[in-house]
Subunit: 402 residues, 2 copies
């Protein structure tokens, strides 16, 4: 008998029929002799609908109230899913984030889990209940409800799997697993049987859109075995686990991320401390910066370009303009018409020809590269958004991936 955590996203429980399908899936796992803990997101468009309600009343309401509002979405889906399992004749109990012991810090909207006090969940499992937990949410030390932000339900699932030392954490989604590239762009993309945490991390943060990197980071930290699989069929999915590193080059996938905007600060004074001023200002205001590129100084001036997510673009520009004199730049140029395209794979750092091969594929396709970033297991380039799909396809071809 194993302890299995299953996570279902909002589209998997969008209506009564789908809720019943998910309930059947859960009951199958339970009937096979496993203990089952389920983490669920809010139904379909519920979260968006709630945000719209809030925006209509006050676009600048406090984040605390926004979390109070949004957390009701998962409360609805867990109760309905528990009722669906009861309908099938099995015992189920739903728990909110706070009932399940998810203690977080107080960063409303983007809260981090501090600890999970899992006594209640264990007690329900001991009573042979299937336990349905509201994903995406927790409670801070003031007993106020918090939400975990993007990818929150995946994170909830991995966190409870870690806390319970579950044998497996299954992330159900609408694709069969992790592919070498987006199958909608690259028809001959292949599903990977397994992938290492680090490779998955790069793919997740690079826009593969299957798992959020927070959940993968947590899975890596606590050694949680994850499986990404489809809620629509019984295919095996992709296992995410610690994989032995090999010397041989092994490009595992090509990813694209359209949620990127580029900001260029033009004609900054070329003096020590400028980069520090810019990036500490942004960090203090929770604007994450990805690729950074600095031009070589000339005549006492230089340019600094960097990328942020599109949702942070306005905030970043406002912050920079408000501190124009302190930083000392002449002009800001910004665009969100760019995409990041990346190849990911262990062993890349030992194969210096990989980046060159990628650039060759892009050059052959006449695609201009704006920025380049490399790490031990990835090479990313920034290209015009209109070229991004083509870039993914030609790179995938070039490497004969999988």
């Amino acid at each position: 008998m194993s302890l299995i955590v299953q996570k279902f996203g909002g589209s998997s429980v969008a209506n009564a029929e789908r809720v019943m399908n998910v309930a059947n899936r859960i009951v199958e796992t339970y009937k096979a002799g496993n203990s089952v803990v389920v983490v669920v997101s809010a139904q379909g468009d519920t979260t968006d609908d709630l945000i719209e309600k809030a925006m209509e009343i006050n676009p600048k309401g406090s984040k605390r109230e926004m979390d109070m509002l949004l957390s009701s979405g998962e409360q609805i889906s867990v109760a309905l899913l528990a009722m669906a399992i009861q309908k099938l004749g099995y015992n189920a109990v739903s728990l909110t984030g706070w009932q399940a012991g998810f203690k977080t810090n107080s960063n409303y909207g983007t809260a981090k889990i501090d600890v999970i006090q899992s006594e209640r969940v264990k007690k329900e499992l001991d009573s042979n209940n299937i336990v349905i937990i509201a994903g995406f949410q927790g409670i801070n030390k003031y007993d106020d409800i918090t939400t975990l932000g993007r990818g929150g339900s995946d994170t909830s699932a991995v966190a409870i799997a870690a806390a319970l030392r579950a044998d497996l954490c299954e992330i159900y989604t609408d694709v069969d697993g992790v592919y070498t590239a987006d199958p909608r762009i690259v028809p001959n993309a292949k599903k990977l049987d397994d992938i290492s945490y680090d490779e998955m991390l790069e793919l997740a943060s690079l826009g593969a859109n299957v798992l959020h990197n927070r959940s993968v980071e947590m899975a890596k930290k606590y050694g949680v075995n994850m499986v990404v699989r489809s809620s629509l069929n019984k295919n095996e999915g992709t296992v995410v686990k610690e994989v032995e590193r090999v010397e041989k080059l092994d490009v595992r996938g090509v990813a694209r991320d359209n949620d990127v905007a580029r900001i260029a600060l033009v004609n900054i004074k070329d003096e020590p401390g400028v980069a520090f001023k810019i990036f500490s200002l942004l960090a203090k205001n929770h604007v994450n910066v990805d690729i950074i590129l600095q031009s070589i100084g000339r005549e006492g001036k230089k340019d600094i370009s960097f990328t942020v997510t599109e949702s942070n673009l306005e905030t970043a520009i406002d912050l920079l303009n408000a501190n124009k004199d302190i930083i000392g730049f002449e002009d800001i140029k910004a665009t969100s018409e760019v995409s990041k395209v990346s190849i990911v794979g262990a062993g890349m750092v030992n194969n210096p020809g990989v980046a060159a091969k990628m650039f060759e594929a892009l050059a052959d396709a006449n695609i201009n590269i704006h920025m380049i970033s490399t790490s031990e297991i990835k090479v990313s380039v920034l290209v015009n958004q209109k070229n991004a799909e083509k870039a993914v396809a030609v790179i995938h071809d070039k490497f004969h991936i999988a």
Copy 2:
């Protein structure tokens, strides 16, 4: 400076515009120098919509899950209302039932409040916050969410007013106050300036539809001054408080309740203990019985008739049939085509002619009376539902009420 509790029902916060109206009303009270605690119901049809979602999946899901589901409705409305107040530039904080310290027993769906641990609410008031509390809900000793059932939000408001020793508990509704009869039936019905708890209790339980009797009982027990007033205008409303009893007859109002069904058990053995068997059986199964009428025994047989709410009719019949041999009756007859019409007023007990005058009015209008029930401050009759409105009108006329 006073501490005022204000309660707004679901229709008062049904959409963004109404939420802003309510926010303005609250802020006015706050600006006048008062501390304000607000209790809110779920928006408009939210509760019905949630029930429908549940029914689609499992009409017999556990009550615990139903409470988990339904309590999300108030969580949405409190967050939105807090944001609306913030929009007006004032500090507001929303609290769920459990955050506000509403500890209840474990009767899911019809939970009773055991105690309110009001430290959190007091702390928020001390911080000059307007406190918005989710009505209708609480938490039991297992940390599971409960709901209070019909009239729950009114009860929540009176309970927190009692716990905080508030100066006033204002119940906002869509009518101007308590009337001598339903103005839709009796055009010359008049609004009462004040009414005693006992009179209000009779009117509430008799279907005046303004306040639920649980809230009035609690207000009486803890001496909470209530005002029933309209959220649509600034009229004074009706004060519900301890009123000096006077000897003089004072019929305060005529009420009608259509949510009544009559059950008749025919040809029961006329022996001691039969009534006990019937009514303890029903009580054990939470079926409340109102008027009871027992025929005089003849030839060792008698009939017992009584009324229940329409929602309890099926349960009651099933229970009685299942125990037919133990109780020993021959047949059950039941109808929900009846209404209870009542007059209420202190001093009635000392004026024996009151009931006769009421019966005269009905006789003059050719309305047949099925059952009669009297108490210190009311006389109720059961009539055919189709005659109920006419009965209210002719009785109101007969007594020249108000």
